[in-house]
């Protein structure tokens, strides 16, 4: 039980030796593996009916094995690699905001590999600032597609620029230094910053507060979310955002023009709200596409860390506790924020016909983050018709169904 309950916190718990080296993404993969391993045990146990003690022992051993041998399993989301950015990057010690400029001549910079700690590439004992740069031709991207930059992970603090535009950051630079080592970087890359079918400059500013430093982990790549195929309307991109909590923020006629703008999907920690836990609201208005008029429509909000209540035109259309898998995961905790698996459930809410309007509609999402990373952090985000939503659910249903069965079985 404790391993499972630690599953989320372990991802971000830097001091936990056992899980220290795992990024949250690894955890997701690990979990997939555990899931499969447990199925094997479950079936085996059913067959030979061995005692509970042995069963627990077997599960424990398999979980240990799964954790040890994780890293080569399917991802819980279907991000397809557009460009793998692993390999040689230009590298320079020091710190200068001008180094984000694509026009900078970086020929004299060193070449080092990323991912890979700089300590292992000649920069022994170096702590402090350094920059990475890479030029890359990005092919033309279909309209209404969301480009994500995935890095796992950076030791300790980073800011990422695409063509001199800051797209995301994590951790805090000195003087208020705070490490974000061990956190997966999942940055939304606005398409308007990209030169399609042309050269682009990605620059990563890194600060290392001690020990190994740099772009570490096992991946750095630009990705597209294959699940956006299911969307009739993609709502990823600029959303309105405000921290704290007010009931009236659900109202469709609220003036949110002075609210902050946040990219969705991306953790709010990566957009200037580092260390923010608690309540915040997201708002977005959209025009219902003609082809969805008078049809059954579903609002999909990807994944949200940790808990959400969703309003359309001022009426509540769903919340985390209504989601399939919510209670059965960890045995129905009455405190809704205590359900530590909710942060990775896919948000799929059916919109009642009498609430959605032809023409303009307003979504308001109340989010509560109980700790570490928070916000609408993973796609797909948008509207689906009934047929698409069924296919989308079918794609993941098998796994989740077995997942539930197994956990019900373990914690019966």
């Amino acid at each position: 039980m404790s391993i499972i309950n630690n599953y989320k916190s372990g991802c971000y718990n830097f001091h936990d030796n056992f899980l220290q080296s795992f990024t949250s993404h690894d955890c997701i993969e690990t979990f997939e593996y555990i899931k499969r391993s447990i199925i094997a045990v479950y079936l085996k146990n059913k067959l030979i009916s061995i005692g509970m003690k042995t069963k627990i022992l077997g599960i424990t051993v398999l979980i240990m094995l799964a954790v040890t041998f994780s890293g080569n399993n399917v991802s819980a989301s279907d991000y397809k690699t557009l460009i793998n950015l692993a390999g040689y990057w230009k590298f320079n010690l020091g710190d200068d905001k001008a180094w984000a400029d694509p026009k900078l001549d970086d020929k004299s910079w060193d070449n080092i590999k990323a991912p890979g700690a700089w300590e292992n590439q000649g920069y022994i004992g170096y702590d402090g600032y350094a920059w990475y740069r890479k030029k890359v031709v990005i092919p033309s991207i279909e309209q209404n597609r969301t480009l994500m930059l995935m890095i796992s992970n950076i030791d300790d603090v980073d800011e990422v620029y695409v063509n001199d535009h800051l797209i995301g950051h994590l951790g805090l630079f000195p003087p208020s230094y705070s490490t974000a080592y061990g956190w997966d970087r999942k940055y939304y890359v606005p398409i308007e910053f990209i030169n399609q079918d042309a050269e682009n400059t990605i620059a990563v500013r890194v600060y290392d507060g001690g020990g190994e430093g740099g772009i570490v982990g096992d991946k750095i790549k630009l990705c597209l979310d294959a699940d956006e195929d299911f969307l009739a309307l993609n709502l990823a991109g600029d959303w309105k955002f405000k921290i704290f909590d007010k009931k009236s923020w659900k109202e469709p006629d609220l003036d949110d023009s002075n609210w902050a703008t946040l990219e969705v999907p991306m953790h709010w920690e990566s957009q200037g709200y580092f260390n923010l836990d608690g309540y915040a609201w997201y708002r977005k208005s959209f025009v219902l596409p003609k082809e969805l008029e008078n049809k059954k429509v579903f609002l999909v909000l990807g994944k949200i860390d940790d808990y959400d209540e969703v309003y359309l035109n001022g009426k509540k259309i769903g919340e985390t506790s209504m989601l399939e898998g919510h209670h059965s995961f960890f045995g129905g905790d009455d405190n809704w924020w205590g359900n530590s698996g909710d942060w990775q459930l896919k948000r799929i809410y059916e919109i009642p016909k009498n609430i959605i309007k032809n023409g303009n509609n307003v979504i308001a999402v109340r989010v509560y983050d109980s700790g570490q990373a928070g916000g609408i952090y993973e796609g797909p985000i948008g509207l689906m018709d009934e047929e698409s939503v069924n296919e989308f659910q079918k794609k993941y249903h098998m796994n989740e169904n077995i997942f539930q069965t197994i956990f019900d079985f373990i914690f019966e």
Partner: protein
């Protein structure tokens, strides 16, 4: 039977570990190019002119090195004495090599000159006498002090407070290290040293003339500061030629027990955490970390004297800059060296 297998496995693992340890030791050992054990010239008394290379020592006594002078006719003598040795240094190809003088163990204090140039000192002479009889003497020999294929002179000033005295035991000779880090300036050798703490000591113009000399790298416990814990400062003047303004430069300060703050020409260059922060964190591993500081070449004054000041705090046990490598070089040369090693 099972136990037997386990035992065999343990033995195998032990052998493997030992092999690895031996390999490591071999990787860092030096090769002797000249054995200097045997007859040296010797005189009791003390005269700084005896350090000079052209001093005539023909009428001095002959004495065996290493061996206490008490065993060679100077029974009961305590006080100052000098050793001198003329020798022909082999005409080895010295590119990409560093040379060292091993002088075994000296009872109690010594100061070593090569061709009239001071190369190092261990222990502390009166009036602030402090013995270092149990410290092995290994002195870095800057190549510019040496004449390959020709005659060279080593002069050793020794002070013995009581009982056996002189160059008493151990290996004595010249040793060569192959493929060392190609430092622009190697910081091994004599530094200025003072116990206590005063932030004025970081200033390049601070007058350190009356400070003691200390050998780097070597724990200060081996050099007359037995059981000293707390703050102390090291200062080193060094000269670099060439252009650095557009270069990144690396300063290596080996390993320091326990914490350090480093100032170059009065500017702080590292580490990221100050000594007070390390003390607050009660960091117990810092002593084992190699100190490498990456600086902007603009901090260096070319063709002038530069001053490196190192504030050290030792929280207990051995203290100071105790292990190399120590020196300065351009980042690109350090990376080339590092990559060629890999």
């Amino acid at each position: 039977m099972k136990k037997n297998v386990e035992n065999k496995l343990m033995v195998l693992i032990s052998i493997l570990s030992f092999t690895i340890i031996l390999f490591e030791a071999k990787g860092t050992s030096l090769n002797r190019v000249l054995d200097l054990k045997g007859k040296w010239k010797f005189s009791i008394g003390d005269n700084i002119n005896w350090s000079k290379e052209n001093f005539k020592d023909a009428d001095w006594e002959s004495i065996s090195v290493p061996s206490p002078w008490e065993d060679q006719g100077f029974y009961g003598y305590d006080g100052y004495a000098w050793y001198r040795k003329s020798f022909t240094l082999p005409a080895i190809n010295n590119d990409n090599k560093e040379l060292y003088l091993y002088l075994g163990y000296v009872d109690d204090v010594d100061e070593v000159y090569v061709n009239g140039n001071l190369v190092g000192s261990t222990g502390s002479f009166p009036p602030n006498f402090s013995t270092a009889y149990n410290a092995f003497r290994k002195y870095y020999l800057p190549k510019e002090f040496l004449r390959f294929g020709k005659n060279n002179v080593i002069s050793v000033r020794v002070y013995d407070a009581q009982l056996a005295g002189g160059i008493v035991s151990g290996e004595v000779g010249i040793y060569v290290e192959s493929n060392p880090i190609p430092f622009e300036y190697n910081f091994q050798g004599s530094w200025k040293f003072k116990t206590g703490d005063n932030m004025d000591y970081k200033e390049p113009l601070f007058n350190d003339n009356n400070w003691h000399l200390i050998n780097v790298p070597k724990a200060w416990e081996d050099q007359g500061y037995n059981d000293y814990d707390g703050y102390a400062w090291y200062r080193k003047k060094f000269f670099v030629s060439g252009q650095y303004a557009n270069e990144k430069v690396v300063i290596l300060l080996g390993k320091i027990d326990d914490y350090d703050e480093v100032y170059l020409n009065g500017s702080y260059i590292g580490p990221i955490k100050k000594i007070s922060e390390y003390i607050d964190d009660d960091d117990n591993n810092r002593w084992s970390e190699l100190r490498v500081y990456y600086i902007d070449g603009k901090l260096l004054q070319s063709n002038k004297n530069n001053v490196l000041a190192v504030r050290v705090y030792d929280k207990g046990g051995f203290g100071g800059i105790y292990e190399g490598p120590v020196g300065i070089l351009k980042l690109k040369e350090f990376l080339n060296y590092w990559r060629s090693k890999k």
